[in-house]
Amino acid sequence: MQLIPCPWCGDREEAEFHYGGQAHVAYPDDPHGLSDAQWAQFVFFRDNPKGPFAERWMHAAGCRRWFNAVRDTATHDLLAVYRTGQQPPQSIAPSTGQDQAQVATA
């Protein structure tokens, strides 16, 4: 079974973790100013890259903490894990969803 390195607990089996979707999707600055289409874009639309992808995971059967991981969607390699509030390593350059946030708030 694939091991996922929890930032707190270390390597644990994938079955202990819960997937949380794309990371770093910014909440709109002015939610009331959005059209329905823009709001739907924020709520439902996520990137689907082939390659490095920043996503949220939670160590559900362990410390129950959310954290971020950069995973290569083509190889399923976990390239980096980092705690919530931190930014992904520049060297990996995942698709972060910042583009979408700008669309939503534009």
């Binding site: 079974m1 707190w8 607990c9 089996e13 202990e16 059967a61 362990g62 410390c63 903490r65």
Partner: protein, 198 residues
């Protein structure tokens, strides 16, 4: 209102006879009704120091460890979360002392004694039997005494405490609804170590 009952039954009260039938090299006993308090506070804040004075030992900040005295043990469950475990019946006393110590600082103490029961697994077969359902490496070099991991044992969530450096004494904290399942799994996992096949 909860109803006061005169008889209190532990989740594994019916399993003592089955545990007696296990091979000689592994002993399993339930330690029911132990005091368990969930403690949430900032590990670097003043409340952590106050709590340390009450329980007599600093809260562990290294992930997956526990420390303690004869009276109370503090289990690391998360960066701002601990489980304080004490002998049965200490809930009110410990809770009052902790709340008084925390005072107006930010921190919560919650009695979760009914949330888990404790299974004491000991004997030279402990590590081998647990390895059949637990992915954590219990070799003393990886998990020395004082290790406290939250993981899955045969797909059931457990808190696993390694009590000594030889991993011949392990405590499992199990949810009551999962306890009979874990007990039956343990008995089954021990079957092949019986001296004469049934």
């Amino acid at each position: 209102m909860t109803v006061e009952t005169s008889i209190r039954l532990s989740p594994l009260a019916d399993w003592a006879a089955a545990f007696d039938q296990l091979p000689a090299d592994i002993q399993v006993r339930e330690m029911p009704f132990r005091t368990q308090l969930s403690l949430r506070l900032d590990a670097d804040g003043p409340a952590a120091a106050s709590v340390a004075e009450v329980i007599g030992v600093a809260l562990p900040t290294a992930p997956c460890t526990f420390v303690g005295t004869d009276e109370v043990e503090a289990l690391w469950l998360g960066p701002d979360e601990w489980l304080l475990v004490a002998p049965p019946g200490r809930q009110a006393q410990l809770q009052d002392a902790l709340r008084a110590a925390i005072g107006d600082e930010f921190g919560t103490v919650t009695d979760v004694s009914a949330q888990r029961t404790t299974l004491r697994v000991s004997g030279s077969l402990t590590r081998e039997v647990l390895a059949r359902g637990c992915a954590i490496d219990l070799h003393p070099q990886v998990s020395p005494g004082g290790t406290c991991v939250q993981t899955q044992l045969a797909q059931a969530g457990v808190v696993l405490l390694v009590r000594d450096d030889a991993a011949t004494s392990v405590w499992l904290l199990i949810r009551p609804s999962f306890a009979p399942y874990v007990a039956s799994w343990l008995v089954d996992a021990c079957t092949e170590y019986r001296e004469e096949a049934p």
